[in-house]
């Protein structure tokens, strides 16, 4: 029984498509500056012979594009891992309330300056701490007896998320002249990313994804059941804890600098799982690259859709695309979601 095209063929086509889209997305997204430069001009700069002005513009834009790539890759990888860990295709950092949890810490970091510690360091640390707390709250409530029902998981995510958001709103309310900063950041935006931020995001996301990659084979066994995984010699408790920590680290890194960007972690792994099957050894790297490409594309669109008002915060755009997909999942893929 062979399907057409064969599995190997689909993997190659998919990898090629993702690479091409990623490269094009990066190049096109680099064209958006304070004013727009042409694709050819971007190409000239990369080839090493652009004008002085364009070189500065492209270098400036690269901060945004690179941040987008890192955040997109990180969130999609997190989604891939969490969907496998919870054995639930609806799981993602945003839907489980992790993003809101990280937002709380980040908001505190943005509002209150801690003496001797730069904001670029304090914010992700605080985000990591609150994100971790949220993770344990949601996991503790929803994961009972070795599995988590979709209903409980989503409801817990919503409830905890609502609580965290309320505290963030409160902080925003008392923020005074920093209010605009927090509001804008809360909508999810790549606009303010700087090289200093990238220097912090890169190791966090890279380390997180590297850890996830080490455990991607174990994750396959966990997807078919905890007892199966144990019978195959995997220390399930330890593996789950390590992967949750890695997911928290990556989510915190993303949220601390660009705000809560939703649905990337939900959609991207899900789409690739439909095309490539559930093997995480393949799905994880593919989701990471796909997530990077998706977020950069969204950033490109975000520059285009509201010409009179500046750049649309990218979180608004991903939600506009992602929420309908979420509803589609609930309606059309009830079986897979475990929604009887």
């Amino acid at each position: 029984m062979s399907r057409i095209p064969g599995k190997r063929g689909r993997i190659l086509i998919c990898a090629a498509a993702v690479s091409v889209i990623l490269v094009l997305a990066v190049l096109y997204d680099l064209t958006w500056a304070t004013y727009r430069i042409s694709f050819g001009e971007v190409f000239d700069v990369i080839a090493g012979n652009g004008t002085w002005g364009n070189r500065i513009l492209v270098k400036d834009n690269a901060q945004r594009v690179l941040t987008g790539a890192l955040v997109g890759a990180g969130l999609a990888a997190c989604g891939c891992v969490m969907q496998a860990l919870f054995r639930n295709p609806m799981a993602s950092p945003y839907i489980l309330g992790l993003s809101s949890g990280a937002s709380l810490g980040a908001a505190v970091g943005l509002l209150f300056t801690i003496p001797f510690i730069p904001v670029a360091v304090a914010t992700p640390i605080l985000a990591f701490v609150t994100c971790l707390a949220t993770m344990f709250i949601v996991y503790g409530i929803a994961h009972v007896g070795g599995s988590s029902h979709t209903e409980t998981l989503l409801l817990t995510g919503i409830a905890v998320s609502a609580m965290m958001s309320a505290v963030v709103s409160f902080l925003t309310f008392i923020a005074g002249d920093k209010m605009e900063d927090i509001v804008f950041w809360g909508m999810g935006s790549l606009e303010r990313a700087e090289w200093a931020d990238i220097a912090v995001i890169t190791p966090m996301v890279a380390a997180g994804i590297a850890v996830m990659a080490c455990y991607s084979k174990s994750l396959n066994a966990i997807m078919i059941g905890d007892s199966h995984a144990m019978d195959l010699g995997i220390e399930v408790g330890k593996t789950r804890l390590i992967l949750l920590l890695a997911s928290t680290l990556v989510t915190a890194a993303a949220v601390a600098f660009v705000g809560a960007i939703g649905f990337v972690g939900l959609i991207i792994p899900h789409i690739f799982r439909i095309i490539l099957g559930p093997d995480n050894r393949l799905l994880l790297p593919m989701s990471a690259f796909g997530g990077a490409a998706f977020l950069i594309l969204c950033d490109y669109l975000a520059h285009m859709v509201t010409p009179g008002y500046g750049v649309l915060p990218i979180g608004v755009l991903t939600a506009l695309v992602g929420a309908p997909y979420f509803i589609y999942l609930l309606r059309r893929r009830r079986n897979e979601v475990g929604w009887s």
Partner: protein, 262 residues
């Protein structure tokens, strides 16, 4: 050296409540061994202690002379495979992908399946009669087929011991025979030691060489079906009026269940 699986004075407590209270067993090489008892008697817990999915509060499990509490989980998985209670699998792994997971205890972190691994996988698929369905998706298969896939995955671990938890639960009657016939045959052909946890008296009496009866967190008795499944024991443990008899057509054991014992 005789290969055996030994349980010595095993105690297991769950939040101070005793689930196993000093269980001892010795299971010989190539045996089909049944662990029987009513729901909640601790038989599944006993099974999970055998490959250290659970750690005992006291006592020990010795496999081929080695204490499992001193072995790495991965090393245990190279000797002992298990078929857990049937569960739903939502993700669209192919049959072959699932069976190939049985090779994980033999691989390093980033190592994939070697040609040798895939030979073993394909042999396991042939053993359970699913080779032609190897590219099917597990989430679209029937309960009986899924159970056979999991058995193939366990066989791919090339184990000496196979642990099965309620292998016939939720299966149609013909599938129950098919699964147990398969396991029994594998035990005879490959010298595999099989430990089956069940509460199905007729099936256990038919397929098991020896049976341990678990009651109130202890091993009440252990021996051949004739020794263990006496009317008195079945009345005491299961509260049923029953007798062990021989099926005149097959010449094999079965248990006639007359009804509740008053």
């Amino acid at each position: 050296m005789v290969m055996t699986l030994e349980v010595r004075d095993l105690e297991f407590r769950y939040r101070e409540r005793p689930v196993l209270d000093g269980a001892s067993l010795e299971i010989g090489e190539g045996e089909v061994f049944g662990i029987l008892g009513p729901n909640g008697c601790g038989k599944t817990t006993l099974l999970k202690n055998l490959n250290r999915n659970l750690r005992p509060s006291a006592g020990s499990v010795i496999i081929d002379g080695q204490d499992v509490s001193e072995m790495a989980k991965k090393d245990i998985a190279q000797m002992v495979a298990a078929v857990p209670q049937a569960n739903e699998i939502r993700f669209a792994f192919t049959v072959r992908e699932i069976v190939a997971m049985g090779r994980m205890p033999f691989q390093r972190y980033f190592e994939g399946e070697s040609g040798f691994d895939m030979q073993i996988v394909d042999q396991a698929l042939k053993d359970v009669g699913l080779y032609d369905m190897r590219d099917f998706h597990i989430n679209e298969m029937s309960g009986g087929e899924r159970q056979r896939v999991i058995i193939a995955r366990a066989l791919a671990q090339t184990p000496k011991y196979l642990l099965m938890d309620e292998p016939t639960n939720h299966l149609d009657v013909n599938m129950q025979f098919e699964v147990l016939d398969l396991v029994h045959r594998l035990s005879r052909e490959k010298g595999l030691t099989v430990v089956i946890v069940s509460h199905d008296l007729p099936m256990a009496s038919r397929y098991c060489d020896r049976i341990a009866l678990i009651n109130e967190h202890k091993v009440m008795c252990c021996g051949t079906p004739e020794e263990v499944l006496t009317p008195e024991n079945m009345r005491a443990v299961f509260n049923v009026d029953a007798e062990l008899s021989v099926d005149s057509k097959t010449g094999k054991h079965t248990v006639l269940l007359h009804g509740v014992s008053y």
